[in-house]
């Protein structure tokens, strides 16, 4: 298979991924705290901001579009656990405690269990994935993620024949995440994919961006990235993964079922009660641009929805 050949041509994980560095990331972050603050000042931007993953292999799914700046990617976020304003998650980033971090795998699979983050990530070859991100609020970014395919994890968990969906859950920690003491959303945040969606090679778990460990406001230490769906599907700070028979409930779907469907594929033809989805503003640009079907990933994911009425299954 072509994919196999591509993979064989790539170096072994031990050669390209400084896991030792990754394991020690907290020390770097602590040491880099001052640098991090300095990095936000004009002129110093682009300086080393914490631990780096080193040179990672590129992916054939990478877009060559201009990247959204690190500053914008990390200061303009929807992460309600850290506040509902766009700048809040960056301001409140330290409220998210990411150590220790475990991921519980459960449901219809042969390998349930609780995995420490390091063990969850270790078997996988990290790579750069430069994806477009399209928010349901009609803005978009281009982000160089660092991650690995969800499919590899799914295979490792050995889902049984009953498994048709994968449900994900964000950390619930109202003690530190004060927003979770309010009923803004039905906490904890939940999202889900159909199993074949999760198996699509575009779906990744990200542990970093811009070659660096994922900042808290971007969903540290582990988040989903499904670039053909609206941003809220790409659930952040994942603590649980469950294989289910039935379509799992999602946080936004419960909050407003008319507005946020289970699929929530980027679709310029299906408008949202608040936002026309025909166009989007790329962060950093002035004029809006046309939104593309499946956010421009129709070739990769279109077949998943063959024969489905996407106006009904929005």
């Amino acid at each position: 298979m072509l994919i196999q050949i591509t993979k064989r041509s790539q170096p072994e994980p031990s050669e390209i991924t400084p896991h030792a560095v990754y394991m020690r990331r907290r020390e770097f972050i602590k040491a880099g705290g001052g640098v991090l603050a300095a990095g936000l000042l004009p002129g110093v931007a682009g300086a080393a901001l914490g631990p780096e993953f080193g040179d990672l292999p590129d992916s054939r799914y990478n877009t060559d579009e201009e990247l959204t700046s690190y500053h914008n990617v990390t200061t303009y976020n929807n992460f309600y656990e850290l506040g509902t304003g766009k700048a809040d998650p960056h301001k409140n980033a330290d409220k998210l405690v990411t150590e220790p971090w475990n991921i519980k795998v459960s449901g219809e699979c042969n390998k349930p269990g609780v995995y420490a983050l390091e063990d969850f990530v270790k078997p996988h070859k990290l790579e750069d994935r430069i994806y477009r991100l399209r928010c349901v609020e009609a803005w978009s970014m281009v982000i160089p993620w660092v991650g690995f395919e969800v499919a590899e994890v799914v295979k490792r968990c050995e889902p049984n024949s009953n498994a048709r969906y994968v449900a994900f859950t964000t950390i619930l920690d109202p003690e530190n995440l004060s927003e979770q003491r309010r009923r803004t959303l039905n906490w904890p945040y939940k999202e889900g994919l159909r199993l074949d969606e999760a198996m699509n090679p575009l779906a990744i778990f990200a542990v970093g961006l811009y070659g660096k460990v994922l900042p808290n406001q971007n969903g540290a230490p582990l988040r989903l990235v499904v670039p053909w769906k609206y941003g809220f599907k790409s659930i952040k700070s994942i603590v649980a993964m469950e294989f289910t028979r039935d379509e799992p409930p999602t946080a936004w779907g419960r909050a407003a079922p008319r507005e946020y469907g289970f699929y929530s594929n980027v679709n310029p033809q299906v408008s949202h009660p608040r936002w026309s989805q025909r166009r989007e503003r790329r962060i950093g640009e002035f004029r809006k641009r046309k939104t593309r079907m499946f956010n421009g990933y129709e070739d990769e994911v279109g077949h998943l929805y063959a024969g489905m009425d996407l106006k009904k299954h929005f």
């Binding site: 200061t75 009660p273 503003r281």
Partner: protein, 210 residues
């Protein structure tokens, strides 16, 4: 007369009124000045157009609520402040115009088909547009000549402000995705302000003077 300097006031109170007027204008221009300063010398964030639109919309709503506060505050606190209301009302209109222009120009960039579709399909935009259109006759008839010309009809016309406030708040309410805290604060304030008038209206109908 509720507007303008009443005749027969002493020079001191004339000076007080002048200072108060300057204060009202400065206070109303402060948010805009802050926005311009932040835009020029600091940072409006990753999505400045969204920031500007929201900021101007927020202040339109706040100034509208402040405008509605003058009458109850004057009666309850027995202060003569209604003479400053017109300026605040006009600033509310001014921020509404800025908000509207930001949407048409910066956000949509004069994409008229998109704008028409937005107004037709997006309830929150229809509400905002309606509130804005209804503000126009009020702003147009805010001068002394219009007051004299319309006479008692002026009061009737300007009761539109209650409708505008409700529709304007609806505009905001329908925009909110999940965090309704600020929307609730606005709603409670508006409910108090309109409730006060309802109570007075009911009392007046019942023949009670106060």
């Amino acid at each position: 007369m509720s507007n303008g300097i009443a005749t027969g006031v002493s020079p001191e109170s004339g000076r007080v009124i002048l200072i108060a007027r300057v204060f009202v204008h400065a206070a109303c221009l402060l948010p805009l000045a802050w926005l311009v300063w932040t835009g020029l010398y600091r940072d409006l964030g990753a999505n400045p157009i969204e920031y500007i639109t929201r900021f101007l919309g927020d202040w339109t709503l706040r100034l509208l609520l402040i405008t509605l506060t003058f009458t109850p505050a004057a009666r309850l606190l027995r202060v003569r402040i209604v003479r400053y209301r017109r300026a605040v009302g006009l600033y509310c209109f001014f921020y509404a115009v800025c908000h509207f222009v930001t949407y048409i120009w910066l956000d949509q960039f004069f994409d008229w088909p998109s704008i028409v579709e937005d107004i037709a399909k997006r309830p929150f935009i229809l509400a905002g547009f309606t509130a804005f259109v209804l503000l126009i006759p009020l702003a147009a008839t805010s001068n002394g000549a219009a007051v004299r010309w319309l006479q008692h009809r002026w009061n009737k016309l300007h009761r539109l402000v209650y409708v505008i406030a409700i529709v304007g708040l609806l505009h905001y309410w329908w925009l909110v995705r999940a965090d309704f805290l600020k929307a609730w604060i606005y709603l409670v304030i508006l409910a108090i302000l309109l409730g006060y008038r309802l109570v007075r209206f009911a009392a007046a109908r019942g023949g009670v003077s106060r």
